[in-house]
């Protein structure tokens, strides 16, 4: 049932789509969710809540004083329970190595501010958790490929591709468009790869924070609020030229910072909500993890995005964003099948899936 739910989300998103790149993303998501379900469906986790937005004060742990300027907010993927533990759930998709336990992906989580802030938020709200379950999915890098003559012959002889039945529609596709994987054949190949190399694509690890580390983060959050307030008061928002090409593409404000464009041009508009990721608008003085990271990366970017609320009109979603967003919705649907207090709160007791270490 969990798989059906998540696949329905993908099918709905793909309805009417003809763009090849988007169709490939849809197939990757279908394959990932199918194999994710196969990998994790027998784990005994149930969801206490999903996609909950929290809004809390920022408190100085050294004095207990509540900030009169700032509040903090965040949207948590979920809170789950099982194996005698209650954990924060965080879904992530990535293109990096997650199989190697010493991979940098895992090492940087030791001080990741999102984990710290979400743990702080739960603790502050009175529900101290036992850790954060990092539920990571690696995006497959492959694309549909040409089929060799031998494989084509085999498909026609056996009606199978990677051990799966091939539909008549696909066979006519092969006759009409030549020996190249369509979405169905590509799906079968992806699934086989994900089953063979499950650890490459799917990992879950529990991340911990000591009390001292959470309190240290609370101090840093307080200090960050003070620093942003100081910058706003002085009207000084200096640039960080080392951050103009972070994440492999130019910052959306690079043209403005370098004098080739102005915020008055028709390329820009004022966003109706600066925190689009939250389900509610809590006003301008909210510190989310994204906002804090943005300020730490470049004060000028933070000023444009969160101070002035300026966004590009023609901002196009990248392939990575589209993939990440579709996977996130699919995962939410998958987990909703395990939400406590609903009719769905039942799971297949058969088999013995992988347990967390």
């Amino acid at each position: 049932m969990s798989l059906d739910k998540s696949l329905r989300v993908i099918d709905a998103a793909m309805r009417g789509v003809e763009d090849e790149a988007q169709l490939v993303i849809g197939t990757k998501c279908r394959a990932l969710m199918t194999c994710y379900d196969r990998r994790w469906r027998f784990d005994k986790w149930s969801a206490k809540s999903l996609e909950e937005t929290v809004h809390l004060p920022i408190v100085n742990p050294a004095t207990g004083r509540t900030s009169r300027t700032w509040t903090q907010a965040g949207k948590h993927d979920g809170v789950i329970s099982g194996y005698g533990r209650r954990l924060l759930l965080e879904h992530k998709t990535c293109s990096e190595d997650i199989e190697d336990p010493a991979a940098t992906y895992w090492r940087r989580l030791d001080i990741d501010s999102q984990v710290s802030q979400y743990v702080l938020q739960h603790w502050q709200a009175g529900g101290k958790l036992d850790g954060t379950l990092y539920d990571v999915i690696r995006k497959p890098a492959s694309r549909p490929k040409k089929i060799t003559a031998a494989v084509l012959t085999s498909i026609h002889a056996t009606n199978e591709y990677y051990g799966q039945k091939v539909s008549e529609e696909t066979k006519s596709d092969l006759a009409e468009f030549g020996p190249r994987e369509n979405q169905e054949l590509y799906f079968h190949r992806l699934c086989q790869d994900m089953v063979d190399r499950s650890n490459r694509y799917f990992q879950r690890k529990v991340i911990h924070r000591t009390d001292g580390e959470v309190v240290e983060f609370a101090s840093e959050l307080w200090d960050l609020g003070q620093t942003i307030a100081d910058a706003n008061r002085d009207g000084r928002h200096y640039r960080n030229s080392a951050a103009c090409l972070t994440y492999g593409s130019p910052c959306e404000y690079l043209g403005v910072c370098s004098g080739h464009d102005t915020l008055e041009s028709d390329k820009w508009e004022r966003a109706s909500r600066v925190h689009a990721e939250l389900s509610d608008d809590f006003g301008g003085n909210v510190l989310t993890n994204s906002r804090a990271k943005c300020f730490q990366l470049c004060r000028r970017k933070h000023h444009y995005r969160y101070g002035l609320g300026i966004r590009r009109r023609d901002e196009e979603g990248t392939e990575a964003l589209y993939f990440g967003s579709l996977m996130h919705q699919s995962l939410e649907a998958w987990w909703s099948a395990y939400l406590e207090g609903t009719e769905n709160d039942k799971r297949d007791e058969a088999g013995g899936g992988q347990l967390l270490p």
């Binding site: 909950e52 809004h55 742990p61 030791d110």
Partner: protein
């Protein structure tokens, strides 16, 4: 769904407002040379229960030899999960214990490394496994943090003090200001120790008092019967505390005397701070 909370969530900051102090028992680490009396000292803590890492059964020998009275202790921790289970049982079950003693933390660290080696490196310890670029030690830090969090929770929820005993090792110190020298350090991997060091409220070092007589020919060490606990950082050893302890505490001639002197010093420090 949005969740709003009241301006100050008491459950979190109640324990962290500095004007009052946390009011929680301390997290103390004692490292020291072999047979200095670490276990005998810790066994006199109030409401003590001791957890022994595999092979660290000095407590049982001391009880058998009538050097210590019968002292509550867990069965020898054979694997990492035994450690976590014991701590979890203390956190969740009814009991009257007030102090958990871990004997020894370096023994528990070894269990942690074994657990990680089995889980992530197919039990291969060499260069094709755990020891590959020392990655295993790095990976183990996430699990080590889990232990510290479990101890934090035990301390906060059951108001139990934590005492961890560690063997000492002698390690060279590269001195940027002059000649290099040797120091006593806890016998743990540097990264795990760094994490633990930050977590603890007091790091104590126990050693025999030795006087060096240098008559111009060859320096000689004399003494070696007097034992002391050192509480502050020194070039020769790692120590430090947030409890306001005096630099040196006499361990006397028995574990009980060593403990009593330590507690007197703690009480004195609290009085002095008021």
């Amino acid at each position: 769904m949005t969740k709003e909370t009241k301006p100050v969530a008491a459950s979190f900051f109640r324990d962290h407002i500095t004007s009052k102090g946390p009011g929680l028992p301390s997290r103390v680490i004692l490292h020291g040379v072999e047979k200095i009396g670490k276990t005998s000292w810790a066994a006199h803590a109030p409401g003590v229960i001791i957890g022994m890492a595999r092979g660290e059964t000095g407590l049982e020998s001391l009880i058998d030899a009538k050097q210590l009275p019968e002292t509550p202790h867990f069965g020898e921790w054979q694997v990492w999960q035994d450690v976590l289970d014991s701590i979890d049982n203390l956190r969740t079950e009814e009991h009257t214990f007030k102090t958990l003693v871990i004997d020894t933390l370096n023994g528990v660290e070894r269990l942690c490394h074994e657990h990680v080696c089995a889980r992530d490196y197919n039990n291969v310890w060499g260069k094709k496994g755990f020891a590959n670029y020392m990655q295993g030690y790095e990976v183990s830090l996430a699990d080590w943090r889990k232990l510290l969090v479990a101890l934090d929770n035990l301390r906060a929820e059951r108001k139990m003090a934590i005492i961890a005993l560690v063997h000492s090792k002698i390690q060279g110190f590269r001195n940027p200001e002059g000649a290099d020298y040797d120091r006593y350090l806890p016998d743990m991997h540097a990264k795990a120790w760094s994490l633990t060091h930050k977590w603890a409220d007091a790091i104590l070092f126990a050693n025999y008092y030795t006087e060096i007589i240098d008559d111009g020919t060859r320096p000689k060490g004399i003494g070696g019967q007097l034992r002391s606990i050192y509480t502050q950082r020194h070039a020769a050893y790692d120590a430090g505390n947030r409890l306001g302890l005096p630099e040196e505490i006499d361990m006397g001639s028995s574990g009980k005397e060593a403990w009593d002197n330590f507690i007197s010093a703690v009480k004195q420090a609290r009085k002095g701070g008021e």
